[in-house]
């Protein structure tokens, strides 16, 4: 069975757009998530990324990324609450703990952890949408002019996720086939094995790219930039009619976010007490970001 994170050719605008436009659009959302700490703005970015995924037909990838993101966010909150003792609103006094010293669980540390977790979750959703909707073949070809001498870099960027997805499926199956007395696989061991295996495989893929002539300058006489449409592919360097939509949306979101920052829209402070700014500027920016999530929808949908 295919992983929801694996790229599936569909006829949506996000899939039809050039990789550069798709990356500009999704990258703008991720950039806002890293520029802002305001929970309303972060939530808006998360909603926009999820809407984009649903609009592009990658609902399954969004759902799984949401689950994984929520788990990661909870972990971050738990660690932050235990490790950071700043803040004045003490929820629970744990007392002395080995290595950690005196531990007080504060509402402020919890809020800061939630912001960090939300940011990580938002990035995961955006990456899931990218992985499921942007054709890695076109990314590979698009990277060639800028990474011609490094097939490994290109392979890592374009193939690491598909390779890891395929490996993860096989490792999961092998984990289920282990005898009851064999040591349980465990998430850490599995992740380590997955990462090592995927990197090894990406190196093999890079070797294949070298053999296919990735690093060689094509002859100008022969060069014709096109890609036969009968095979469902898109030319890597041919612009789509949807490109403008994604470039414009990405630029609009980023400009509005930077302007908002300049105007003080990101008023959030966790310490010493939690302060969240929910002024009209923040609300307007959040609304704009949510609306940007509709960009991948077809106009006739």
């Amino acid at each position: 069975m295919r992983s929801p994170f694996a790229y599936t050719p569909r006829s949506g605008p996000l899939q039809a757009a050039s990789p550069g436009a798709a990356v500009a659009y999704l990258g703008a959302l991720v950039a806002v998530a890293f520029l802002y700490s305001n929970p309303l703005v972060l939530a808006a970015v998360g909603i926009a990324a999820a809407l984009a995924g649903y609009g592009a037909g990658a609902g399954a990838a969004v759902r799984i990324a949401l689950r994984m993101g929520a788990t990661l966010a909870l972990l971050i909150v738990a660690v932050n609450v235990l490790v950071v003792d700043r803040g004045v609103t003490v929820l629970f006094r744990v007392g002395e703990a080995p290595l950690l010293g005196r531990v007080d669980l504060t509402a402020e540390a919890m809020a800061e952890g939630a912001i960090l977790g939300l940011r990580a979750a938002v990035a995961m959703i955006a990456f899931a949408v990218y992985s499921a909707c942007v054709d890695p073949d076109r990314v590979l070809r698009g990277l060639r002019p800028i990474a011609r001498r490094s097939a490994l870099t290109a392979a890592l960027i374009s193939r690491l996720v598909p390779v890891a997805v395929a490996d993860a499926a096989r490792l999961r199956d092998a984990g289920r086939l282990r005898g009851p007395a064999a040591a349980p696989v465990g998430r850490t061991a599995l992740l380590r094995r997955l990462m090592a295996g995927s990197l090894d495989r990406a190196v093999d893929v890079a070797a294949t790219l070298e053999l296919r002539g990735y690093a060689v300058q094509p002859s100008p006489r022969r060069h014709v930039a096109a890609f036969p449409p009968r095979w469902g592919g898109q030319p890597c360097n041919k612009r789509s009619r949807y490109d403008r939509r994604f470039y414009l949306t990405g630029a609009l979101v980023l400009i509005a976010a930077i302007a908002g920052l300049a105007l003080g829209a990101d008023s959030f402070h966790a310490y010493p007490t939690i302060e969240v700014g929910l002024g009209s500027g923040t609300v307007a920016l959040s609304a704009l970001i949510v609306l940007s999530g509709l960009a991948p929808r077809r106009r006739d949908a």
């Binding site: 086939l177 009851p180 022969r222 469902g232």
Partner: protein, 586 residues
């Protein structure tokens, strides 16, 4: 009238001189103070070799003897991609492969690696095949034509629209080969290209290579373990041992050399002839039949229209008498070990089993009403073309796939080893993978109890496979009793004959302990060596189910080399071929 000048002599397709190579780890230890000057770990040792343009050479040798490294050196991956230390020279169609990188050599060399999954870089089949042409900057029209032609040549036009993650291993192998051939390189290097192909596709591939060689003048250097499949197509055989060239000569001379030097490199036909004492040794089925016919003619024998096949008559003559009638009674693997009498419930049973999988966005029936019963102690080979449903059947029995209709039952439990044993290995110590007494028991069953403290990465390929099997068995062994069914999916991939024989012994040991052993395999010679029963699948259904002797001697493709030569029911291995005839004589 202009004078015709003599065309310049073509440079050799491949010229290697005094090549020695150390992979990075070996190179580092070579320079460590304690190992100064020691050549241990040398992957290639003083190799000299010249392939003329248009030659078809077969590279033979046991696992880890240096075949893959030699191929990597010939395409520039060694040392450019793998690093390490290299001495000597490698020239490919005149280009210095050590100076030029694999990219510069790409126009002249096509390389197909052992594992197709590592050499697929695109999402769709068409894009994968087209990639080298696109990298080269070919026009759309020439790309489309080249892709279409290579797809037709390899019989894969129906795959062009598919995404690569929906392909079986054999299909992936053909796609990788297509991507290597699409640029029409002058030299094609292939590293066990048939290891994942079914016998039909494997034979077709070898003859396609021969055709490319004859009609296009492509030079072929083919590394293979299944020599019987490709010896007849080769002009020359180069055998390697411990990183050096141990033999270089004609296929017939190679067989004579292998008979003395390394029996694991003998083909079944050569073994049959040497058992019966006939010379010269045959380089293939056709050659064997011709030799036998000529000897028949010398003896003045004429075919007996109502009796035994003429070749069987020859063999009887060679053994001192003529066989009487057909061979039939105890001729198959049953003669090598009868399973225990059946008193248990079946080890596995399926009833009207239907399985549907998605290929792309479309659901596809992979198993179509399979009815199968496997008894304890049976040794069964599950065979069939790539994509016939063998792996899916094993996965369904193991509970990895849910059937859409029907039942799959494994009452006594099951251990399944999938195609990639490394997937089972996630820790850095064997004992950590298999803790406690149950773990030790599992290790003992596969003969690895001495390796408890070893790092799985330091084990040989065969040992890693056994360790993975032990992991699948752990906790499923009660006392001395194994689970009802032990299943292995393509366990001989990349395995030489010597390791294959070890695996046969292991399988026979499992069966003696009462487990049914079900092995999905494309290797007919391996199947003949271990199986009592063969289940042949085609497009999701069982198309034949019978004794190994019956199934492996009754067809063209799913028949052993000996069976194809003798055409005698039951004579599927060299030993049986000779012994059966001997037994039938008074």
């Amino acid at each position: 009238m202009p004078e015709l000048s003599t065309p310049p002599r073509a440079a050799p397709a491949l010229a290697i001189e005094r090549l020695s190579y150390f992979y990075p780890a070996a190179a580092r230890s070579r320079h460590s103070p304690r190992q100064e000057g020691v050549n241990a770990g040398c992957a290639l040792r003083d190799v000299s070799l010249t392939l003329a343009a248009g030659e078809f050479a077969l590279l033979a040798g046991r696992s880890a003897c240096g075949k893959t490294t030699l191929l990597r050196a010939a395409c520039g991956l060694v040392p450019h991609f793998h690093g390490g230390e290299i001495e000597g020279s490698v020239r490919v169609t005149g280009l210095d492969a050590i100076e030029s990188g694999p990219g510069e050599l790409a126009a002249a060399v096509g390389y197909v690696a052992q594992d197709p999954e590592t050499q697929i870089v695109s999402t769709t089949v068409a894009a994968e095949i087209e990639l080298p042409l696109e990298m080269r900057g070919d026009s759309q029209a020439s790309r489309a034509r080249a892709v279409e032609e290579v797809a037709l040549a390899l019989a894969i036009p129906q795959l062009l629209d598919r995404t690569v993650d929906t392909l079986s291993g054999g299909e992936l192998q053909r796609v990788a080969l297509a991507a290597a051939l699409v640029t029409r390189p002058k030299l094609v290097l292939l590293d066990e290209p048939t290891s994942q192909l079914d016998p039909v596709a494997g034979d077709e591939l070898i003859w396609l290579l021969r055709r490319l060689n004859e009609e296009w003048g492509v030079t072929i250097l083919l590394a293979e373990h299944r020599l019987e499949r490709c010896l007849a197509a080769a002009d020359r055989v180069i055998a390697m041992a411990s990183g050096s060239i141990a033999f270089d000569g004609s296929p017939r001379d190679f067989l004579a050399w292998a008979q003395q030097a390394d029996a694991a490199l003998e083909t079944p036909a050569a073994r049959l002839f040497s058992l019966v004492g006939i010379e010269p040794l045959p380089v293939g089925v056709r050659d064997a039949r011709n030799i036998l016919s000529s000897i028949d003619a010398q003896l003045g024998r004429v075919p007996d229209p109502g009796g035994c096949p003429p070749l069987a008559g020859f063999f009887a003559s060679a053994l001192g008498s003529r066989p009487r009638g057909r061979v039939g009674r105890k001729t198959n693997a049953a003669a090598r070990g009868t399973p225990p009498r059946v008193r248990h419930p079946p080890a596995a049973a399926t009833r009207d089993l239907w399985v549907e999988l998605r290929q792309g966005d479309e659901p596809h029936d992979v198993l179509k009403g399979i009815d199968l019963k496997v008894e304890r102690g049976e040794r069964i080979a599950l065979m069939g073309r790539n994509g016939a449903g063998k792996s899916t059947l094993l996965r369904t029995l193991a509970g990895l796939v849910e059937p859409v209709r029907g039942k799959a039952e494994v009452p006594g439990g099951m251990a399944l080893l999938t195609q990639n044993p490394s997937d089972y290995l996630v820790r850095e110590r064997v004992g950590d993978e298999l803790p406690g007494d149950a773990g030790l028991t599992a290790l003992r069953i596969v003969g690895l109890e001495q390796k408890v403290d070893a790092d799985p990465r330091d084990l040989s390929g065969g040992e890693r496979q056994r360790l993975a099997l032990a992991i699948a068995l752990a906790g499923r062994v009660e006392g001395d009793e194994l689970p009802g069914l032990v299943a292995l999916d393509e366990p001989t991939r990349g395995m030489d004959r010597a390791r294959g024989r070890d695996l046969v012994e292991l399988i026979e040991g499992f069966a003696v302990r009462g487990a049914a052993v079900l092995v999905a395999t494309h290797d007919v010679e391996f199947a003949a060596a271990f199986a009592q029963r063969v289940v042949l699948m085609g497009d999701g259904v069982v198309i034949a189910d019978g004794s190994a002797a019956e199934i492996l001697s009754g067809g063209w493709y799913f028949a052993t080399e000996v069976a194809r030569i003798l055409d005698l029911p039951g004579a599927i291995t060299p030993e049986l071929g000779a012994a059966v005839l001997g037994r039938e004589t008074p």
